[in-house]
């Protein structure tokens, strides 16, 4: 590890710490419907949307209505995105003339679901598949809406804790509108302008073909990148304009943009922890959540960075210089530190943007992102998703350990009872089932090479690597889908009907079978009385609770996925140190990200 490398990580963390409270205060104002400094500029827009859509600002919804609104909105989003993609050949702003054949029904379904669920898994490469209109009108729009929907759910759950003896948890349409108008839109505009200033492109021109120094022809892709790049980060969406994502110089040109992009990922999730404390009227509770997330984040970095810096022992044995660490799949302008940090941050949050190829991380370096995703991306997490995911773990932790203080469990003054436990378990089971079952089937399933489902043949034929590394690629793909992360280990071609459809389902399960139970929890909590706090109450704001919560996240995750991880990155790690690697099995497939 290098001093500048460590410094970069420390500075990044300190910036996040410093931004948490101001961001949280602003978010609290927005979601409590109070006046913010942006109201003079943007209130008209909010009011206009309400007027156009017939939304009553002061009307509140029960959790069932809130969920129904969310589902309805998402279904419409999927249908719209699907239709636009399928019709891209007949629509304007398509200078490369991408037709309908490249956008197959299964791919369009997968992509529509992917962007609506805030996953942004991409079975395609943007520059070779999707027109500018689709990038802007279908994908970028969903980047805003899915992000705002996630925050809305987190705020609704927070209201469940904050309120007492009421039936309602807020209004989905109002929360959604406020999130877009006051939070995501201004942040992305500022972010996009900054990125443009650093060299990120923003145009509607067709690709440029240039003659290189060697005399070869090179196609340089163009497009409205900055506008999508910015929301891709602040909305923790992660779907790149280009296949190479934030490793591409037009998406992420400099170390400075890289640093800012990292901060953009954690900005809203960190702020939401403060919003939580603020809304439940005990900011210590919010900081405890923040501290738990920080602890797990720092542990992740502390594993990945050294693992990447140590490089590949096999190459070292061959006499190669290992001082620069494992540079395979990394951009030279970022280096090991910034790439390791990015890999951890993007999977802590359910962002999924990458600035280095996760497939090329060392086994341990790759284990951390995979584990981050499988524990539900609760380490700051996706916008909203991180907070509600962590609150789910808090419910589980409090329920198991809370009994040990001799009281029936309670969190933030709310009794954790049957309904909460049932819903929390439902969410955990649904995600685990989706990841494990789809990965299990894909590891052994066999298809006809001439059939529709998977032209390469067996489910494993889509892999570019063999052995445990190949297995990790499958496991990572479904984990990323259910976790709504969207980053890819790469090395697996998922653009076949089998993978497109199963991953689509995987993403839907991971999103909605997680959110709906939690909204049910919100409804149940809001209806409860707040229990008085005494010295006999389980304290949920101290270091003890932080340790307990972090332990619960890790142990529940480890117990669920340890067998699978043992056959993937863990065994690969031991094999690497015993001198065995898993090279590509077939020629070269394009790099999928």
């Amino acid at each position: 590890m290098t001093t500048p490398g460590v410094l970069q990580i420390v500075v990044f963390f300190l910036v996040v710490v410093a931004l948490t409270k101001p961001m949280g205060l602003f978010l609290t104002q927005v979601y409590e419907g109070r006046r913010t400094f942006l109201h003079p500029v943007l209130r008209w827009l909010e009011a206009l949307i309400y007027k156009l859509c017939g939304i009553r600002e002061d009307e509140e919804q029960k959790w069932t209505q809130y969920s129904f609104a969310l589902i309805l909105f998402s279904v419409v989003g999927v249908v719209l995105a699907y239709v636009l993609q399928r019709a891209q050949g007949h629509l304007p702003l398509n200078p490369q003339n991408f037709g309908t054949p490249v956008m197959t029904p299964d791919l369009a379904f997968n992509t529509a679901v992917s962007f609506v669920t805030n996953t942004n898994w991409q079975s395609y490469s943007g520059e070779s598949t999707v027109s500018y209109l689709i990038q802007m009108a279908a994908l970028t729009v969903q980047n805003f809406l899915s992000g705002a929907a996630g925050i809305a759910v987190a705020v609704a759950l927070t209201r469940g804790f904050a309120r007492q003896q009421v039936k309602t948890i807020g209004n989905f349409w109002v929360d959604l509108t406020r999130g877009v108008v006051y939070v995501l839109l201004p942040l992305s505009i500022v972010g996009a302008l900054f990125l443009c200033s650093q060299g990120v492109i923003q145009n509607l021109k067709p690709n440029v073909v240039v003659q290189t120094l060697e005399g070869a022809q090179q196609v340089i892709p163009m497009g409205p990148v900055a506008s999508q790049e910015s929301i891709k980060m602040v909305g923790t969406n992660g779907g790149g304009f280009f296949g190479a994502n934030s490793a591409h110089p037009f998406e992420n040109p400099t170390p400075l943009t890289n640093f800012v992009q990292l901060v953009m990922i954690f900005l809203i999730p960190a702020g939401l922890t403060y919003l939580f404390g603020r809304m439940v009227k005990d900011t210590r509770q919010g900081w405890a959540i923040f501290a738990t997330m920080s602890l797990l984040f720092l542990i992740g970095v502390a594993i990945t960075y050294p693992a990447e810096q140590a490089g590949n022992p096999i190459l070292t044995k061959l006499g190669l210089d290992s001082t620069s660490g494992n540079m395979e799949g990394k951009e030279v302008r970022f280096g090991v530190s910034a790439s390791s940090l990015f890999a951890v941050v993007t999977t802590d949050a359910s962002c999924g943007a990458v600035n280095a190829m996760h497939d090329s991380l060392t086994p341990l370096g790759g284990l951390v992102p995979l584990f981050n995703i499988e524990t539900g991306e609760v380490i700051f997490g996706g916008v909203g998703a991180g907070l509600y995911g962590m609150l789910l773990f808090a419910i589980v932790a409090v329920f198991i350990a809370g009994l040990m203080v001799g009281r029936t469990p309670e969190y933030i003054g709310k009794k954790i009872e049957q309904k909460e436990v049932k819903m929390a378990m439902l969410a955990l089971i649904a995600t685990a089932a989706s990841i494990l079952i789809f990965s299990g089937i894909s590891s052994v399933v066999d298809f006809s090479k001439t059939g529709y489902w998977n032209p390469p043949g067996a489910g494993t034929a889509n892999l570019t690597n063999s052995g445990p590394h190949g297995f990790a690629e499958i496991l990572y793909a479904f984990s990323s889908g259910a976790g709504n992360n969207g980053s890819a280990f790469g090395g697996i071609n998922t653009n076949t009907p089998w993978y497109n459809l199963t991953m689509g389902l995987d993403m839907l399960i991971g999103r909605f079978l997680f959110i709906i139970p939690l909204l049910a929890v919100a409804g149940s909590l809001a209806a409860k009385k707040r229990v008085a706090t005494t010295s006999g109450t389980f304290p949920t704001h101290g270091p003890l609770f932080v340790g307990l919560l972090a332990g619960t996240v890790v142990i529940v995750g480890a117990l669920t996925y340890f067998p699978a991880l043992a056959l993937g990155p863990i065994v690969e790690h031991f094999l690497m140190y015993s001198g065995k690697l898993f090279a590509a099995v077939v020629g070269s497939l394009p790099i999928w990200s």
Binding site: F399, G406, A432, G440, L548, L559, P563, F574
Partner: protein, 704 residues
């Protein structure tokens, strides 16, 4: 009680809230109970009943599947028969051990119930007819509303209320306490319980229950567990462990294709056998808590019963752990029942001896505890012996609410004692005067929480006897313990606020409710509950009934009225109001035991992974041997050791489940830290040496 052997059930820590000597305690491993529980363990294998416990049901299915495959392999000549036999045996043992834990808890309750049932004989009752004559009927023919006559040595035929007369009654059947109690018509001591015995005198009793619905019947049903319903927290915990079971089922079932991929990819080893997969599953699912959960609940109820408290539902016991506010009656709970003389305060010109002498004389005929305490104090302080007054010409004036004083006319002296105002009036009537300082003295005593009792000799004021409420020994410490547990104690008293405040501060309670009427009590409880607090209280009178019903935990005294007993959700058979504190401790202990074993159960899994995963894939990926940090002997011994440990830990924890974990009153943070360390961290660490030792033994015995 036939085998009421007393033994400490809880650790011998002096700060323990739960006392060690329990009237109904029985040894943990009574041979008779053990025998019955062992038999029940097999009966409970019935899958229809076991289905109610999802965790153990999964184990049973796993055991059955393993056995079927074993039988197939026995005839089909499969490999590793010895290993499979052992796995199957230990899986069955796992189920049996869990059944045994539950059966033990149930058998203990049943033994109690049987002892009670023996006392429930069909007695002969003398039913009063309209004509005034009596007819003899059996107790089972009595209906609510009948009136019966009970005389010396009669068994009271049913629950009822004394409507005429007074009698001493032996209630040891219900309370285990052999000292007789007095039951009389009117007031709060009128309730009698069926099955108890009249020792002297005779009473007229109005029966208030129908056969099969008597207190004794309910008591039997409760201790037997027949009426046992799962408590809300138990149901929630069941959902959690069932959910975890499902997650582990997914993890293990999908391990099969993952393994198939790995085997295909390396071309080495083979996919783990069903026996091994089942073994892994059983090790991972929370069998420890799954097997012990219902035993913990039954034992908790039983523990309350051993304290001679009858909880009407498990929910009430659970709620007592959650109590935030405890309402304690001043008289009898915080203070000894009566005020006692502590000091003689004289007016100018009078010696303390004179005052003591007059006070003692005036109290000689006073049988109230206050009067007796004056006699005793005079004797202790001034050596004045109680004199035979027969040789003097003495006429005693009894206390009346009208005069508010009592005394004696003796040898021409008119000695009076009573309320300050009354005595001053008396003195003035007799031609004397009362100095202002006298009134001040009296007020000072009032302010300090005492009761001034003025004494006069005709027109001459002598002084004041200071009567004081005596706070029970150790009360302050107990209330301190409650505070440490985060529970506020509120003193309820009919006294004026001044007196109440003084006693409250002496006893160390957090707050008090003075001049409290039953309505005030009820309102206070409602207010506390509105602020999100759970309230516990004791009560005995009929006018306590609404408050008892409103409180989250209402403990009625067995000596109390039927209305009070019906309203509360617990009955203290010893009628000891202080026991509320113990009940809270038992409730907490029950919840802690549940949480501790759940945490322990889940934490155990970490070690089991380290035992089984490397063993499973040793041939496919020999490098996974790095995970074999316990250096277990062979793949077979590793898997077996984990399964055996998993089974044995259930049986090893049965005593803990039945007794409850050691509990000492302290704040939640300290309690959590301690228990997380023991059951969380301990739960992660303990299986490592445990599995290792079993593995060595297996290797030594050449079993694997």
């Amino acid at each position: 009680m036939p085998t009421a052997i007393e033994q400490p059930l809880i650790s011998a820590d002096p700060t323990d809230l739960i006392p060690k000597r329990l009237a109904r305690a029985r040894p943990l491993f009574d041979p008779e109970i053990l025998g019955r529980a062992t038999k029940q363990s097999f009966v409970k294998l019935n899958p229809v009943t076991l289905m109610k416990n999802p965790v153990m049901f999964v184990v049973e299915v796993g055991a059955a599947v393993t056995t079927v495959i074993l039988v197939r392999d026995l005839f089909g000549g499969g490999a590793a028969i010895g290993f499979q036999v052992q796995i199957a045996i230990w899986l069955w043992f796992t189920v049996l051990f869990a059944n045994f834990a539950e059966a033990m808890a149930e058998a203990r309750g049943k033994a109690q119930a049987e002892a009670l049932r023996k006392t429930k004989t069909d007695s002969v009752a003398k039913r009063l007819l309209g004509s005034g004559k009596t007819e003899e009927v059996t107790s089972s023919q009595l209906r609510s509303g009948d009136v019966v006559i009970c005389e010396t040595n009669d068994i009271i035929p049913g629950d009822g209320e004394v409507i005429d007369g007074i009698a001493t009654v032996d209630e040891s059947v219900i309370t285990g306490e052999s000292a007789p109690v007095i039951r009389e018509s009117g007031g709060d001591r009128s309730a009698v319980t069926g099955g108890t015995k009249v020792l002297s005198d005779h009473v007229k009793i109005k029966i208030t229950s129908n056969p099969g619905e008597t207190f004794l019947d309910r008591m039997i049903a409760l201790v037997e567990g027949a009426e046992r319903q799962k408590t809300p927290n138990e149901i929630a915990l069941n959902i959690l462990i069932a959910g975890l079971t499902l997650i582990f089922l997914l993890a293990v079932v999908t391990l099969q294709p993952f393994a198939a991929y790995s085997v295909a990819s390396t071309g080495l080893g083979h996919v783990p056998s069903v026996a091994v997969l089942v073994a892994l599953l059983v090790c991972l699912i929370p069998t420890t808590i799954g097997g012990l959960l219902s035993a913990i609940g039954i034992a908790g109820m039983d523990r309350v019963m051993q304290h001679n408290v009858l909880a009407m539902s498990g929910r009430a016991v659970e709620a007592s752990g959650d109590v935030n506010t405890l309402l304690l009656d001043k008289t009898g709970t915080i203070t000894l029942g009566n005020r006692q003389a502590v000091e003689f305060l004289v007016v100018e010109g009078v010696t303390e001896l004179d005052l003591a002498d007059a006070a003692q004389l005036s109290s000689l005929a006073d049988e109230t505890p206050e009067g007796r305490s004056i006699v005793v104090l005079a004797k202790e302080k001034h050596g004045l012996r109680g004199r035979e007054v027969g040789e003097h010409e003495a006429r005693f004036i009894p206390f009346s609410a009208y005069t508010r004083m009592s005394g004696v006319d003796i040898d021409g002296r008119m000695l009076r004692k009573g309320a300050t105002e009354a005595i001053i009036n008396f003195v003035v009537e007799q031609g004397g005067t009362a100095p202002a300082s006298f009134r001040e003295l009296s007020d000072r005593i009032s302010r300090s929480g005492g009761t001034p009792l003025a004494v006069a000799d005709g027109p001459r004021l002598l002084g004041i006897v200071h009567l004081k409420d005596i706070v029970k020994g150790g009360m302050k410490e107990r209330i301190g313990q409650l505070r440490a547990m985060g529970i506020r104690s509120i003193m309820i008293t009919g006294d004026n606020p001044l007196t109440a405040a003084a006693i409250a501060s002496e006893a160390g309670v957090d707050d008090f409710l003075a001049q409290a009427t039953p309505k005030d009590k009820l309102e206070f409880i409602r207010k506390e509950q509105a602020e999100g607090r759970l309230v516990a209280m004791t009560g005995d009178g009929t006018n306590d009934a609404p408050a008892l019903a409103q409180a989250d935990v209402g403990v009625a005294m067995n000596t109390g009225t039927m209305a009070a007993k019906e309203a509360g959700n617990m009955v203290d058979l010893d009628s000891n109001p202080t026991k509320l504190i113990e009940i809270v401790a038992i409730g907490k202990q029950l919840l802690i035991t549940r949480g501790a074993l759940t945490t322990f159960s889940i934490a155990n899994d970490v070690a089991k992974y380290f035992a089984i995963i490397p063993a499973m894939f040793l041939t496919t990926y020999p490098v996974l041997g790095h995970l074999n940090i316990m250096k277990l002997h062979s793949p077979e011994s590793a898997v077996l050791a984990a399964v055996i440990f998993n089974a044995l830990i259930i049986i090893a924890l049965v005593p803990l489940a039945l007794r409850g974990v050691a509990y000492r009153p302290q704040g939640a943070a300290a309690l959590l830290r301690r228990n997380l360390l023991i059951y969380g961290v301990g739960g992660i660490l303990v299986p490592f040496p445990g599995i290792w030792v079993i593995d060595r033994l297996l290797a030594f015995l050449r079993l694997a």
